[in-house]
């Protein structure tokens, strides 16, 4: 499988990358780790005339603290997310999620930017970013704007990104210390996309839930933020009846496709099962 021909560009600054994206227009694609784009190009489902490789842009790498947020450059690989002690301490759900993405070789090369910006509903990070209420930095010719992850995903491979814009970083508000978290993913084998997956971040106070946020992966055209489920759980002691009600609310917003991973009704049910498990584990971990 050999991709179509293209011209290769390797800018060294965000400014040059955005300027190339703008001037080359719709025939140009930015490439990060390439582990979504190159397989598409090999199948000729994508045939960009220009590839703009972001690997030479140093500003797009790295994980740093900025006030109460952690900012992650889009070229940071899944492997680097797994290795980061800062993330392990502050936002441990990112390591837990990264380790469930693909396999070791893919994690060495695949980036958080590709995972969140491609708009593939099978990717794991988007629902986690919605759960964490992350914001994406989008840079275009006219400057930078910030888009909430919860408003970024509009359809399969369709995002709020405008032509010529590049996501440069992900900004995540650090959840309170002592929060509980879990990313539960049902998959047929290692490396597979989720049949269904659920992300939970919650805080407890006196045995009751003070905040709770839920994200769901691969059970709709877009990742989902299950706002109502989180609201139902807030104030509860995560008793079985309330969990059941919240799970029903989460299942109600899913609309998965029937495919090799199972019929739609099964995948909806599995989203509920993953959420139930994620809630139990997050509760165990919460201080």
């Amino acid at each position: 499988m050999i991709p179509g021909s293209f011209a290769y560009h390797r800018p060294t600054s965000v400014k040059d990358a955005v300027s190339l994206l703008g001037s080359l227009g719709e025939d140009a694609r930015a490439i990060a780790g390439g582990h979504s784009l190159i397989p598409m190009m090999k199948l000729r489902l994508a045939a960009p005339a220009h590839l703009i490789d972001l690997a030479g842009v140093a500003d797009l790498k790295g994980i740093r603290e900025d006030g109460r947020d952690i900012v992650i450059g889009v070229m940071t690989t899944q492997h680097e997310l797994v290795s980061s002690e800062l993330l392990a301490n502050k936002i441990p759900i990112l390591r837990e999620t990264s380790l469930q993405i693909a396999d070791p070789q893919v994690r060495y090369v695949g980036t958080i930017g590709g995972n969140i910006a491609n708009g593939d509903p099978g990717n794991d990070m988007p629902a986690v970013m919605m759960c964490l209420n992350a914001t994406y930095h989008a840079v275009g010719k006219t400057g930078e704007r910030r888009v909430a992850a919860r408003e970024f995903y509009q359809g399969a491979y369709l995002t709020a990104l405008k032509p010529g814009e590049l996501v440069t970083a992900v900004r995540i508000p650090v959840p309170p210390s002592g929060h509980g978290h879990a990313y539960e993913k049902l998959k047929r084998k290692i490396g597979d996309y989720a049949t269904a997956a659920a992300a939970v971040v919650l805080t407890l106070s006196g045995g009751k839930v003070s905040t709770c946020s839920v994200g769901l992966t691969n059970v709709a055209e877009t990742p989902l933020w299950a706002e109502e489920a989180g609201n139902i759980l807030t104030g509860s002691a995560l008793d079985a009846a309330t969990v059941k009600k919240a799970v029903a609310a989460a299942e109600a917003i899913t609309s998965p496709a029937s495919d090799g991973r199972g019929p739609a009704a099964y995948r909806t049910k599995m989203a509920g099962v993953m959420l139930t498990r994620a809630l139990a584990r997050a509760k165990e971990r919460a201080a």
Partner: protein, 166 residues
Amino acid sequence: MAKSQISMTVNGKKVEELVEPRTLLIHFLREQLNLTGPHIGCETSHCGACTVDLDGKSVKSCTMFAVQANGADIRTIEGMAAADGTLHVLQEAFREMHGLQCGFCTPGMITRAYRLLQENKKPTEEEIRFGIAGNLCRCTGYQNIVKAIQYAAAKINGVPLQEAAE
């Protein structure tokens, strides 16, 4: 399409070549450098037969363009044995523990195991299995591959081999 000039270090040797941007690293290695150790298996980033070591990472060379590897330091299975032909401890381990049957996955398995042991000198059986999850073998059922990696780890660490449970 205009060709690009790339240079890299492959198995310790400097190479400079012209490539079309669309040339995948696996094709570059096999067809331009005649390094046919890395294999083309699934071509869809799943099987890991094309795995090479690149700048301290295990990568699937079927899912990278050669131009992206410009400037990189690459090691393939051909670069594992010593110049005098002495096998690398992992090669010896795969032979001793019958870690291969048809051998198709072996170059990828060994280059991947090499990086795994660089990062984790004493992996548990579970860590080995998780660490080679990106490499498929259709013959062995993995048991002897895991044993071979345990053999190599034990030898590197100078401790007696503790075999995986049957």
